[in-house]
């Protein structure tokens, strides 16, 4: 295998691993901040217990999210030196701003939150977790603006043999990046909502502390439903932006081969890339695809055959990932809706089937997030920066396949081990429930730690 394939594989593994932890951080930070705020406002210690219990799980998850992020920053230079050299003038800026304006805030105030229970006022303690939540989401904004630039480069000229920034404002208001940001963070909120719902369901099925897990359940359900609504809305607008700026990705997402006006969408489609057609197209909704792409029934959807073969992304993985992601989105919306209904009717504990489904649905939003990234990144191929630089031109010239094989094995082993330990600890503390922490809050000398 060559350095390009190996480096792509390594970037995929390390960024997908990173993105196991990031979405939960994005959403759970907000939920914990909300819970602690409720405690500060009402003085009700159940909310304090919730902030501490979910906060502990938040921290176990947070640690891996932070350390695996450094890998990505290093990797641009290590494996993608030609890319970094060519686009660093514009691409480096959002990364540097992310560190200075967001990552510092997040990592300094997480320290205040973890260690400051007795050092800062109750109100400021709650403020510090809000700062963490906001900074985490700001971090995501800068990273996704950087990624948005790779998807839809704006605000640059090619000069001195590289892409140079000429319009900073265009980069930070790149609609592609902003839509991607909104869609990605609200998808993270869904992960957090289903995490809280699933773990609450586990305890409720065991009749364990309903006074604690019913409010947790309701918080997760409402947050989940609201986030899913936003996921669908931002997803829809994001798709329109993709159709406009990345026609090859859009065509691959929907497996469209021929350019058509008023294109329909077939609910059942089986792509046949070898013959540049779909072997099955059934249950077609007329004009649906044109509507999704342009919010106009007569819009012209570009087919893959309009593009050179070597400038098309691989269709099957992009198509399947997109379909599966969308299906999961609707499935989760249904679950969240049911959860909200039973929660407000006060009948959560009677619906054991729903609770069981929720428990086993914890991985679903994780999977949907990963599939979304496959659509975004595989769908961009063969470009590393859409339309201006091919992925194969971006790789470092000074590294050998042997070096990358070595680092790939190292990452796989290290991440495998750390991921295993992290999930083990999350499961252990999730099962344990809040009692230990509440008891130790009341009697500080408890051995619980």
């Amino acid at each position: 295998m060559d350095v390009v394939i190996l480096s792509r594989l390594q970037f995929a593994i390390t960024s997908m691993f990173h993105f196991i932890f990031v979405p939960l951080t994005l959403g759970l930070s907000i939920l914990v901040a909300f819970m602690e705020t409720r405690y500060v406002r009402t003085g009700n210690e159940v909310w304090l217990g919730m902030a501490k219990f979910w906060g502990k799980l938040f921290l176990i998850n947070f640690a891996l999210g932070v350390v695996t992020g450094i890998t990505l920053e290093f990797q641009f230079g290590m494996n993608w030196a030609e890319y970094s050299r060519y686009v660093g003038d514009i691409f480096g800026a959002p990364l540097a701003i992310e560190a200075t304006a967001a990552f510092f805030l997040e990592s300094v105030f997480i320290g205040v939150w973890i260690f400051g229970w007795n050092k800062v006022s109750k109100t400021f303690h709650a403020v510090s977790i809000w700062i963490v939540a906001i900074a985490t989401n700001l971090s995501a904004l800068w990273i996704l603006l950087a990624n948005g630039w790779m998807q839809h480069p704006v605000g640059y000229v090619i000069r001195n043999g590289r892409a140079e920034m000429v319009d900073f404002l265009a980069m930070v208001t790149n609609p592609y990046g902003l839509l991607k940001f909104f869609h990605t963070v609200v998808s993270g909120y869904v992960v957090a909502a289903f995490f809280v719902l699933g773990i609450s369901a586990w305890h409720l099925l065991r009749k364990n502390r309903p006074d604690f897990f019913l409010p947790s359940f309701r918080t997760g359900a409402v947050f989940g439903l609201a986030s899913l609504f936003l996921v669908l809305v931002t997803g829809d607008f994001h798709a329109v932006e993709v159709a406009k700026t990345q026609p090859t990705k859009f065509a691959a997402m929907e497996s469209v081969w021929e350019t058509r006006r008023g294109a329909g969408m077939s609910l059942i489609t089986i792509p046949d890339p070898a013959n540049e057609r779909n072997s099955v197209e059934a249950l077609t909704i007329p004009s649906m695809l044109s509507y999704l792409a342009f919010h106009r029934a007569d819009g012209e959807v570009k087919g893959l055959k309009d593009f050179r073969k070597d400038e098309r992304p691989p269709v099957t993985p992009v198509f399947l990932s997109f379909r599966a992601m969308v299906a999961m989105g609707f499935f989760m919306t249904l679950l969240a809706l049911l959860s909200v209904i039973v929660s407000f009717r006060g009948t959560v504990e009677k619906h054991t089937l729903l609770l069981r489904v929720l428990l086993y649905s914890i991985p679903v939003p994780y999977l949907a997030n990963q599939l979304g990234w496959i659509v975004a990144e595989v769908g961009r191929q063969p470009w590393i920066v859409y339309g201006i630089m091919k992925t194969s031109d971006g790789v470092s010239r000074s590294i050998s396949a042997g070096q990358v094989v070595g680092s790939l094995i190292g990452f796989t082993l290290l991440y495998g081990l750390l991921g295993f330990i992290d999930i083990f600890l999350l499961a252990k503390y999730a099962r344990k429930g809040p009692d230990g922490d509440l008891a130790s809050f009341i009697k500080p000398a408890s051995k619980e730690a």
Binding site: K52, G55, L59, I60, A63, L64, V66, V67, T68, G69, I70, T71, E73, F74, G77, M78, A81, E82, Y83, S84, R85, V87, G88, D89, I90, G92, A93, L95, A96, I97, A99, T100, A101, F104, V108, I110, G111, V112, I114, F115, N118, V120, R159, N160, E164, M165, V166, S396, R397, S398, I399, G406, S407, G410, I421, D422, K428, F441, E448, A449
Partner: protein, 342 residues
């Protein structure tokens, strides 16, 4: 052109502040197994830097990000040329970060012991690797128009290793002094004794470094051209001596402050000598990476200067505030009472 000089200064400041702040965490991490004789003491040590280590490490991320944004060619070539060394560094930093969080999560001696060993190794390795990397940057990398002619093993040349040892000793003394300030009683006393024990070795290696740099590097060219600059290494040596003097007087906080100054000035000594190079070529000076031939466009540098001048002071302000909030030494009672501590 002025912006490139501003960014060179900022680049040096970011590295210096990073080493000053993470240096004591790395040093305390190397010593934690040895200084902490019981689980309680080890927890105290980890909790002395618990609230701040993460924020300290962000200076590294920022130094990396600033290199990327301001000197993309240097960023690209440095990271790809030093692939294996950076990979080891990355693995160590990843392990160190999770150690602190995971260690206290199971009540098992074997579990804690394993993480304690991991903390030691994952603190030692970055200290050594940073030193080796900077030693080689001072020396220059074997690069020309055809690319890079070195390997991971060629980084382990005598001057590279000497700089690696210098960094390890510098952080050991720095970390021990930090612990002497941030702990109490017997543990604090032991930390101070340890700092004093390593100090003569640090002085000897620092002297050797200053001598060896003359034949091994071109760092002295700037100093010979403008002898006034010799104040920087001179102050570095003076603050190193002050460290020991304060320590002997039992003034732990002053000793630690002097140690902070030492770290900053050691980095400054190297950075001043490098100017205007970021990475000199050891085989063909025409292919040295300088702040002029590897920088971003004037427009990008201007934007980034505005960003830095707005945000860096804010960061420094809230970091100082946080250090004040957590200024009290950590005791065993604190870590037992605080269920959220490490």
């Amino acid at each position: 052109m002025e912006f490139q000089i501003i960014w060179f200064v900022l680049w040096g400041v970011l590295w210096a502040v990073y080493f000053m702040l993470d240096g004591f965490v790395l040093g305390a991490g190397m010593l934690h197994r040895y200084l902490g004789t019981t689980d309680g003491e080890r927890r105290v040590i980890i909790n002395t830097f618990g609230p701040v280590w993460d924020g300290n490490e962000v200076w590294l991320i920022t130094a990396g990000g600033a290199t990327f944004a301001a000197f993309p060619t240097t960023y690209a070539l440095m990271f790809s040329y030093l692939y294996t060394a950076l990979l080891l560094l990355l693995f160590a930093l990843i392990v160190r970060g999770v150690c602190f969080e995971f260690r206290g999560k199971l009540e098992s001696d074997r579990w804690k012991n394993a993480w304690d060993t991991a903390i030691m190794v994952s603190s030692f390795l970055p200290a050594l690797l940073f030193g080796v990397a900077f030693g080689n940057i001072f020396r220059g990398l074997p690069m020309d128009g055809a690319g890079y002619h070195g390997t991971f093993l060629s980084l382990l040349n005598p001057f590279g290793i000497l700089t690696g040892v210098l960094f390890v000793l510098l952080f050991l003394v720095h970390g021990a002094l930090y612990l002497s300030v941030k702990t109490t009683g017997e543990l604090s006393r032991r930390a101070q004794v340890t700092a004093n024990r390593f100090w003569p070795w640090l002085l000897a290696v620092a002297a050797l470094f200053l001598v060896a740099a003359y034949p091994a590097t071109r760092l002295y060219e700037n100093y010979l051209a403008a002898p006034l600059l010799l104040a920087v290494p001179l102050l570095a040596v003076l603050s190193l001596i002050a460290t020991r003097v304060f320590s002997a007087q039992g003034r732990a906080l002053s000793a630690f402050a002097a140690s902070c100054a030492t770290v900053i000035l050691v980095i400054a000594t190297g950075v001043v000598g490098l100017f205007p190079n970021l990475i000199p070529s050891s085989i063909d000076p025409a292919h040295s990476l300088t702040i002029f031939n590897s920088s971003s466009s004037a427009y990008t540098l201007r934007i980034m200067t505005v960003v830095a001048f707005i945000f860096v002071p804010i960061v420094i302000a809230y970091k100082i505030w946080v250090y004040r909030v957590f200024r009290a030494p950590v005791t065993e009672r604190d870590v037992i009472e605080d269920v959220q501590s490490y």
